[in-house]
């Protein structure tokens, strides 16, 4: 099966891989201890299925013991052992490797190998998502092949470009910038993958990638981000669109340290003046949903019952008047000689955000607020938001299945909390949610935290694109797990071409 992609992979080493294609490929070459099922339940044990670990138990509230499957082997024949798991944990946490995933492993105090098939994870405190943290972030690495390489040189080692893994697929060939091939391991211990060969083909231009798909030179694409291209695919009879809940949400984050955003009522007024449905509708048409808060449709806590500020320009105007921001003769609001205006950083990498920003600017102008759009390069925006040197920034977030990923961006003191949001109620709600023992107990607490975030108008949460993968009709058995579209590719098969009306199952 040929996969069309617009970006090449960087390295194929799970702790270090950062680019999309690199992550997709290394996910198929290396395994986790256990995988999330399609339901993305990150709290209960039943939400996971065994992979490298055949079973696990909780001897006490701070420990999980995994029993590895003796059938699991590295592609050079060596068995996957507990020593590999311990080595992997050390590698991910090693500052010389500088893995972006290291902070997620902070709750784990230690990983100790018992015998060759038993490994114990010890946590610093009890919380319901221990299993999730133990399994989701790390993909196990082969100690016997990597322990002689100094940590700082891991990313640039030959192994990172031609890895030996234990997954359903083996690395075959990589022509940089052009294509990457992996072949199925027919003797994989959990069953033979349905498709024998996967080839990622790089076309930097989105239109060319879609053209290849439509011409039959490629069979699948993870997501079609542009509306015009979606319409092209819709018209084809050989390619069908498979929708799945998106792990993204995008919004305008206010820098709460800077006026006028220090004033909660002003923020609420600005949020109420934005007709989010119109923005989303015009930029995406039917291909995106209005974001309900700091949560993506993929996450289980997503709900359209989350309390949001209404679209009410009259109320917004009254609020601003009440705070002393009066309209001048030119319609611009001022207070004590200062005009109500701010700069909005928008990354040049996203056409949709640029389009949305223009509409937003227009809507706010009618309220008497002057928004200056500053298109900047993505790396520049990263730098400025990290340094707090911005008024408002139009960012997009990729969430993990766990609702706790909320804390990465909205918890006080979190490095990625660029707006400086710090609210005691929000904190206590999220802390309680983290401690709740069951999913049913945690969900309402998370939702109330999201309500609070919306009430405080820390950001204008705008949209979540409706992800649609494009897959050729000759591929059957297609299921898509929203957080990683190829997570279930072992179940896909190359079959007879079927008409486009026959849609594969997507996630719940």
């Amino acid at each position: 099966m040929v996969i069309a992609t617009t970006g090449d992979a960087d390295v194929l080493l799970p702790p270090v891989t950062s680019l999309e294609t690199g992550i997709n490929v290394s996910d198929l070459l290396f395994c986790r201890l256990a995988e999330l099922r399609l339901g993305l339940n990150t709290v209960d044990d039943s939400g996971f299925r065994p992979v490298l670990a055949r079973s696990w138990d909780h001897p006490d509230s701070l420990t999980i013991v995994f029993h590895l499957d003796p059938r699991a082997r590295w592609q050079d024949g060596a068995p996957v052992t507990a020593a590999d798991v311990a080595f992997t944990f050390r590698t991910y946490r090693d500052s010389a490797v500088n893995s972006p995933l290291a902070p997620f492993l902070a709750p784990i105090e230690s990983v100790t190998a018992g015998d060759s098939l038993t490994v114990a994870f010890r946590f610093r405190r009890w919380y319901p998502e221990q299993l999730y943290d133990a399994t989701y972030h790390m993909r196990i690495l082969p100690r016997h092949l990597l322990d002689t390489i100094p940590a700082a040189r891991l990313a640039s080692s030959a192994f990172a470009r031609a890895p030996v893994g234990d997954g359903p697929y083996r690395f075959a060939r990589w022509r940089a910038g052009a294509e990457l091939t992996v072949t199925a391991d027919t003797a994989w211990f959990l069953g033979r993958p349905g498709i024998g060969r996967l080839i990622w083909r790089v076309s930097p231009e989105l239109a060319s990638a879609v053209s290849q798909l439509l011409a039959g030179e490629a069979d699948a694409m993870e997501v079609i981000p542009a509306r015009g291209q979606l319409e092209r695919v819709q018209q084809s009879r050989d390619v069908r669109l498979v929708p799945y809940p998106s792990p993204f949400y995008a919004g305008v984050v206010f820098n709460l340290r800077r006026p006028p955003f220090t004033d909660r009522e002003v923020r609420r007024a600005l949020t109420m003046a934005v007709d989010r449905r119109a923005v989303v509708g015009s930029v995406f048409g039917p291909f995106a949903d209005v974001a309900v808060g700091a949560v993506s449709p993929m996450q289980a806590v997503w709900s359209d019952s989350i309390r949001q500020l209404p679209y009410d320009t009259a109320a917004a105007a009254r609020l601003l008047d009440a705070r002393g921001w009066r309209r001048g003769a030119d319609g611009q609001r001022t207070r004590g000689g200062t005009a109500l205006r701010f700069d909005l950083l928008v990354p040049t990498s996203s056409q949709s955000r640029q389009a949305a920003a223009v509409i937003l600017q227009d809507q706010l102008r009618r309220l008497g607020v002057d928004v200056r759009i500053q298109p900047v390069e993505f790396t520049v925006m990263e730098g400025r938001t990290a340094a707090g040197d911005f008024d408002a920034a139009f960012v997009s977030r990729t969430t993990d299945p766990s609702p706790a990923s909320l804390l990465q961006w909205w918890s006080p003191g979190a490095a990625a909390n660029i707006g400086g949001y710090a609210d005691p109620t929000f904190q206590s709600l999220t802390a309680a949610a983290l401690r709740a023992r069951t999913r049913a107990g945690a969900a309402p607490l998370w939702r109330r935290a999201l309500d609070r975030l919306n009430d405080d108008a820390a950001a204008v949460f705008l949209f979540s694109p409706r992800n649609q993968a494009a897959v050729s009709t000759r591929i059957a058995g297609v299921t898509i797990r929203p957080d990683a579209w190829l997570a279930t590719v072992t179940g896909w098969r190359v079959g007879e071409p079927r008409p486009a009306s026959d849609r594969g199952a997507a996630g719940p």
């Binding site: 015009g228 015009s282 640029q354 389009a355 223009v358």
Partner: protein, 281 residues
């Protein structure tokens, strides 16, 4: 009759050149008049329903992915292309002529130093430098683009001017003027400049077309004058993803580019033929 009038006569007799000049004038007129006769190029009247509409009676060239009127944007784009093209060409020849004059008139040491510098500068990969600088500069105004393009493109002119000056230094009339006691600035102004002007004008006019294409290329990569200000290059960038479903978005600015550059090149060829008939073929 003055050599200028002779040249003007020759130009007027060259029909393609005259047509080229006429088109250029028309473009300039359209660019100037654009804000008066067309809609706001930045307006997005109905972002939901008016995206990528084909040409119709209300939008003669259709709309783009942001529901903006393509005709209006094309005409406004002419302003950027013309200003950058002519401005950068003028600035470049001024720089080049200045350096060339100094090199030609000054002593041998200065000449050597300057010309070595020009040799080194000519080896710089222009596109790479422009890309690197513009990628960094977040919101480079049109003036910055003009200066950057000019600063990387004056070298050939300096060589031409230097050669012309060197050739003229030993010419009889200059020697005679010197012998008569005329001061250097006077010699430059009265005798050298008219003779140097011809190759300079030709060089500048031939440059304009290339500079317009260069600016379009930079805009296409997202690095020239930034959106939402329309330039023909960034209109093509907007249109490339909808090339198959809404081809007019990229076709209009592309055709405008071709027509304008052809016109400038015709006029430039005509100028060259008129000012230096020895080179006419």
């Amino acid at each position: 009759m003055s050599p200028w009038r002779v040249a003007a006569r020759r130009f007027a007799r060259n029909r393609p050149a005259v047509r080229g000049a006429a088109v250029v004038a028309l473009m300039a007129l359209a660019a100037l008049a654009a804000p008066l006769v067309t809609a706001d190029p930045l307006a997005q009247p109905d972002p939901v329903r008016l995206q990528d509409r084909p040409p119709s009676s209300t939008h003669l060239l259709g709309t783009d992915p942001f529901s903006r009127d393509v005709l209006s944007r094309t005409l406004h784009g002419a302003r950027v292309s013309l200003v950058v093209g002519v401005g950068a060409a003028l600035l470049a020849v001024t720089l080049g002529a200045g350096v060339g004059l100094v090199a030609g008139l000054a002593g041998r040491r200065t000449d050597q130093v300057l010309m070595r510098g020009v040799d080194v500068a000519m080896a710089l990969p222009r596109i790479l430098l422009l890309l690197a600088v513009l990628a960094v500069w977040e919101n480079a105004p049109a003036a910055a683009v003009v200066v950057l393009i000019a600063a990387t493109g004056w070298f050939q002119t300096s060589r031409i001017v230097r050669a012309a000056v060197l050739g003229l230094r030993e010419a009889d009339f200059v020697v005679a003027a010197r012998a008569l006691g005329a001061a250097a600035p006077g010699i430059v102004r009265r005798h050298l400049l008219p003779h140097v002007a011809a190759p300079v004008i030709v060089s500048a006019s031939l440059d304009v077309g290339n500079i317009i294409l260069l600016e379009a290329g930079l805009s296409y990569l997202g690095l020239g004058v930034r959106p939402p200000t329309p330039t023909w290059g960034n209109m093509i960038m907007d249109g490339k993803d909808v090339l198959l479903t809404a081809p007019w978005v990229a076709l209009a600015p592309g055709l405008a580019l071709v027509v304008t550059v052809v016109a400038f090149n015709l006029a430039a060829d005509g100028l060259r033929d008129a000012l230096d008939p020895r080179m006419a073929v």
